[in-house]
């Protein structure tokens, strides 16, 4: 049975940093994201952009944090989680797995209804899926206010 983990990330406004969260795979596991929630606790600002989940082949550099175990077996995740990137991941062109148009004043959730139909990462080190802020035309952008979010994934 797949083990499930919760990753809570904080994405502060950071010059040159478009990525809110990355899930980095490993050669021993094929993680699958099945739930994403994104919102903002900052003062309301009427701005719009896109949240895009994309594949990457190089993880870049960010602040690592530990995902919480949801399965209750107290085993650590084999994948790694990062937020507040200082070096952007190397995204694969055209790999937009999920696109959510968003307003800073709204809260957005996505979840896969059926197991096996989430956003799947290959079992390859330094590869994975990142959640990036974009504007029209999928141009990376820095949101006007910070965001927080939660990602649930299984491996």
């Amino acid at each position: 049975m797949a083990r499930c983990f919760a990753a809570d990330f904080i994405r502060t406004v950071n010059a040159g940093d478009f990525t809110g969260y990355t899930l980095v795979s490993a050669a021993t596991v094929r993680p699958e994201i099945y739930y994403i929630q994104i919102g903002s606790s900052a003062a309301p600002v009427n701005t719009a952009h896109l949240w895009v989940a994309r594949r990457f082949t190089a993880a870049g550099a960010g602040t690592a944090f530990t995902a919480l175990d949801l399965s209750g077996d107290a085993l650590a995740t084999l994948a790694t989680n990062f937020h507040t990137h200082t070096v952007e991941p190397t995204y694969t062109a055209g790999s937009h797995l999920l696109v959510i148009p968003a307003n800073q004043q709204g809260t957005y959730q996505w979840y896969a209804v059926r197991e096996g139909r989430g956003l799947r990462c290959p079992a390859t080190a330094a590869n994975g899926i990142g959640i990036e802020a974009n504007v029209q035309g999928f141009t990376p952008t820095i949101p006007a206010a910070g965001y927080e979010g939660t990602v649930h994934y299984s491996e």
Binding site: L97, Q105, Y108, W110, A112, V113, L119, R120, T124
Partner: protein, 78 residues
């Protein structure tokens, strides 16, 4: 057919829910908007929907793509 995913948006105008479909070839989740003109597909081998991207027209399931990518047989995973 049943949806594969759900997007829930809670905004100042209330809650909006929309279903997403899953492409069996690239693993993308997309929304289907009637009348949008976006052409989607359906794979008769996988018996599941595809996103309509040209790279997803031929039957190349996401499981096989992941296997080939992990073994170095596929250069780019989209």
């Amino acid at each position: 057919m049943r949806e594969d995913g759900v997007i829930i948006a809670d905004t100042n105008d209330g809650r909006i829910e929309t279903a997403t479909a899953w492409c069996c070839h690239c693993g993308t989740h997309f929304t289907e908007v009637r009348g949008s003109g976006r052409i989607r597909g359906f794979c008769m081998k996988c018996m599941a929907k595809t996103c309509g991207a040209p790279g997803c027209d031929a039957c190349y399931p996401i499981e096989k793509r992941l296997d080939d990518y992990e073994r170095g047989k596929l250069g780019v995973l989209q």
